[in-house]
Subunit: 268 residues, 3 copies
């Protein structure tokens, strides 16, 4: 564990010094929340979604979030433009395939983003990742949605196929680059009762990815910090309403140099 | 009253078992809030607004919210498509005519939705409903805006004309199907000092309507629960800012099986 | 100081009597927040952004906010239409040039709004105002971004050139009409850790500007009240998450007739 506490110490120092600009093209539901999560962690959020400016914005951002939660054609075009620009600059692109599989627009958009942008990190829940692996990368795994078993080999195969670090949120989060597999046990059931918690975790990943450590580590670290702050928030909240402000407070304590939360990240 | 407490018990069990998917095409201002209200009550919210996917989304949702708070042409088209799809499937469509009468775009859009979709439930404040009844259903009632009297017969006539359960929010809410008239006395003045409280009540209605009881009852029940949770929230809040998280907490206690709030729903 | 406390007393009475309708064309990130700020201060917010209705909405609003935080072509067109309508009616237009200078779309949109609408009040941070003064009004001042010194003469020149009251947010806010220069020392560092605090201050200005006192005074008063409420909120908050609801509560106490906050507004 000591490794992760040390990496957290280094990352939050880098983030504090650099205040990474995290460019978001994200859904309407979570814009305010994810901007506040980014700020609380020491990043600087910018939301810009139009084809007329996304490439320019992506040309000086430190990382890019593409989130398909509320889609329309012009936004899809903007995501592709911004994503390619960020990739050309070597800036981490974090993709959140919200609702993949629910409609063909979403699945098709995922296909385009995966093939044309090649994101560096993909974070979704088990259903989204399993469906993407099947529909886009043609890796079979929809069966896993019916069973209780976590399809770890499917996650690994999808990571290799997509060339991305794949992060699957759940009671335990899994993070893999196709070879190594990390498990993050921080978290709390209240995360499932609030909208945008997955999207917020994606923004947290984008902040840590901008700090320059290896993307696999940065992703696991962000999930651990986000989950641990949720544990702290749940301890003072009276339900999902008071959980959200308490979560932001807890994230802010991390970036502000407070006692680091206890991370439960393990290999395998 | 015992009837309503019993119906609440049955409904929350059904909602808990089914986790109804509530498809929202709603305004930008309240998307995060209404998603959290839906989750707190045990529903599962999805926001999808584009013509390229709304019919597909509506084809497996358990209820549909159409809310015109922030309109534009493509969204109007999407509301009509999704509304017709939901109606064809027999899924409850709940319509919130935000700002009806304020601009001709809003009034005209209401006219289209009422005639082309024929929503199952309409919730608005007295001004919105009175104007809709006059402008769309050609029922005279604008005078009522000037007087203190609640135009109950106009509400009934509008319900019969529109074929919908009509719910009029106010210090006392009124709910009618054109014959029966229910009155809901739960509520608190702080609801008037927070944006999106009417829109949130509409989402609450959509959750209860998906649980399958009669729409008149489901609507009154949702208004009673929402208002009673506001009373609980006001008891611990220090103003409209802390009222909102406390309200979400209170709604979550209801769905979580906590002591049911005291409902004040009467006939007439 | 007594002048400002007296002006606050008068303004909040006027706002309470009039409940000014503040029409916002603003960014997605802050819509919910700024609507709640407007309500908490006693105003009545309406968000309407489409070219099909903005002129009609602007034809009966008491003030208009134009905020370019999340831009796209149709919204720009709507801002110009609404702005011209409000100006033709003599209603205060408050402009928030979010991210001016970050992309050419933003800078160019600012140029259009400044020349075609001629807003009555402009509120931004130092970078935004300095860049606007240079790029749009061709007043040199970008150097000031590198130095610690507040370029007061540049602010004055920009106010004269634009014909607007210019408000520059920062540790101390500056407000000038090109001649007089006011300084507002209310505020708290947590404002910098929450998204949309500048946008919210802009909405506060729009509420006070609708109350009919001189725009220079109304702007300084709004900044003082907003900053002082932030001080109160910070005293009870545990971080940026709990700061926001506490801020809304504090703003609501002001409009509700509570003990007025201590304003620190001075000349020069």
């Amino acid at each position: 564990m000591a490794k992760w506490q040390q990496l957290l110490g280094e990352s939050r120092k880098t983030i504090g010094d650099k205040r990474p600009l995290v460019h978001h093209i994200t859904n309407y539901v979570v814009m305010n929340l994810t901007a506040n999560v980014t700020l609380a962690l020491g990043g600087s959020p910018v939301m810009a979604h139009d084809v007329d400016e996304v490439e320019e914005m992506a040309s000086f951002a430190s990382s890019l979030v593409l989130n398909i939660g509320t889609l329309s054609p012009r936004w899809i075009e903007a995501m592709l433009l911004a994503g390619k620009k960020a990739k050309a600059r070597g800036v981490p692109v974090v993709f959140d395939p919200v609702g993949a599989g629910a409609t063909s627009l979403r699945t098709e958009t995922c296909r385009k983003i995966l093939s044309e942008v090649r994101p560096d990190i993909i974070r979704g829940n088990r259903a989204e990742i399993t469906i993407l692996a099947g529909a886009v990368a043609r890796i079979s795994g929809v069966d896993s949605l019916e069973t209780g078993e976590e399809p770890l080999e499917l996650y690994r195969a999808f990571a290799r196929e997509s060339g991305a670090v794949v992060c699957v949120s759940g009671p335990s989060d899994r993070v893999t680059d196709g070879e190594r597999m990390l498990r993050v046990d921080n978290g709390h059931p209240l995360f499932g009762r609030v909208t945008g918690m997955g999207c917020s975790a994606t923004s947290a990943i984008a902040v840590f990815a901008a700090a320059g450590s290896r993307l696999l580590d940065a992703t696991a670290l962000a999930m651990g910090v986000f989950g641990a702050c949720g544990e702290e928030a749940a301890a003072v909240a009276h339900g999902p309403g008071t959980f959200v402000p308490a979560l932001i407070d807890a994230l802010h304590r991390v970036s502000g140099g407070g006692t680091p939360p206890s991370l439960r990240i393990t290999e395998g």
